[in-house]
């Protein structure tokens, strides 16, 4: 049977790929996709802990409830974030993160 550590390592790797995408990419839509991947990687870790803490084959359901909350918050966040991206495209005619320089100049 697959040990708990492998699930946690998979979750960590997916999270770091998302982190790398957030740091590297300039296109804000892709940065936002990478953020979503980071959230879903955290879900794997939560469900793995829920399974590992269980006794007699029944998992502990508190982490799974938290994971469900994460999914709902991610959905709300995507709605707001994409509206912000559309508003930014209207104002700047670009979706590159290098176009937002009002506070820098």
């Amino acid at each position: 049977m697959t040990p708990l550590a492998h699930y946690l390592i998979l979750s960590g790797i997916l999270f770091s790929i998302g982190l790398a995408g957030v740091l590297i990419r300039k296109n804000i839509i892709v940065v936002f996709m990478c953020l979503e991947m980071m959230l879903s990687a955290a879900n794997i870790s939560l469900v793995a802990f829920s399974r590992a803490q269980g006794t007699e084959g029944v998992p502990v359901y508190d982490p799974q409830v938290l994971s469900l909350f994460v999914v709902a918050v991610a959905a709300a966040e995507v709605a707001i974030g994409l509206a912000l991206i559309v508003a930014m495209f209207r104002a700047r005619k670009s979706v590159e993160s290098t176009a937002i320089t009002t506070l820098k100049d």
Partner: protein
């Protein structure tokens, strides 16, 4: 045998998830990124199924691969985003990002391996194990099917959803209500941000 198959499936889906996550970061066209993200979310859902969290796996497919991905594709289509060209000025930024992410992945791996009992390979989920699971076909089920004799077994199959719902609506009822307000605020905020601003 069943344990071996579930291990093989886990490593298969983990490889697919990691490779398609690389695809999201590496591909220049945002539409390709979105398609790679769909594959990544589907294999994440398969891994959740392997862990016995059927309801969360279905939610992952419906919410992430269904709703969120379609929203992304709509925005990419609406904004007519050009693909990013790759030039040398991006190189320092890419190196810094890869180093930070690599250090983070190393830390998580080390911490996961240091957890007590993390590498023991316990088998806590009964439905996925070969033990105490009655594999012999029950002949009385076929006879009792017409009179609804198979119903208790169905209830046993839905044990995951049932227990999750009981926890959600008893212990976490107030956070659940607050969460619905967050979703309402998200909807109202999206409409308010997406409206055309009048200059008068």
């Amino acid at each position: 045998m069943e344990a071996a198959i579930s291990s093989i499936l886990f490593y298969l889906f983990a490889t697919v998830a990691v490779l398609s996550a690389f695809g999201v970061v590496a591909s220049r066209n945002p539409v390709n990124s979105a398609m790679c993200m769909a594959v990544s979310f589907a294999s994440t859902a398969a891994i959740l199924f392997c862990m016995g969290a059927q309801f969360l796996g279905i939610v992952q497919i419906i919410v992430y691969a269904g709703a969120i991905l379609v929203l992304f594709l709509f925005v990419v289509m609406m904004l007519d985003v050009k693909s990013e060209e790759r030039n040398l000025s991006n190189l320092p930024r890419a190196i810094i990002g890869v180093v930070i992410a690599g250090v983070f992945a190393g830390m998580v791996t080390k911490a996961a391996l240091l957890l007590p009992d993390a590498t023991a390979g316990k088998c806590p989920v009964k439905a996925l194990c070969c033990t105490d699971y009655d594999a012999t076909p029950d002949t009385t089920v076929a006879e009792g099917e017409l009179s609804g004799g198979a119903l208790p077994e169905l209830a046993q199959d839905n044990a995951d959803v049932k227990s999750l719902g009981e926890t959600l609506f008893s212990q976490y009822n107030i956070p659940f209500v607050i969460l619905s307000f967050a979703l309402l605020a998200g909807t109202v905020g999206a409409v308010a941000l997406g409206r055309k601003i009048r200059k008068d």
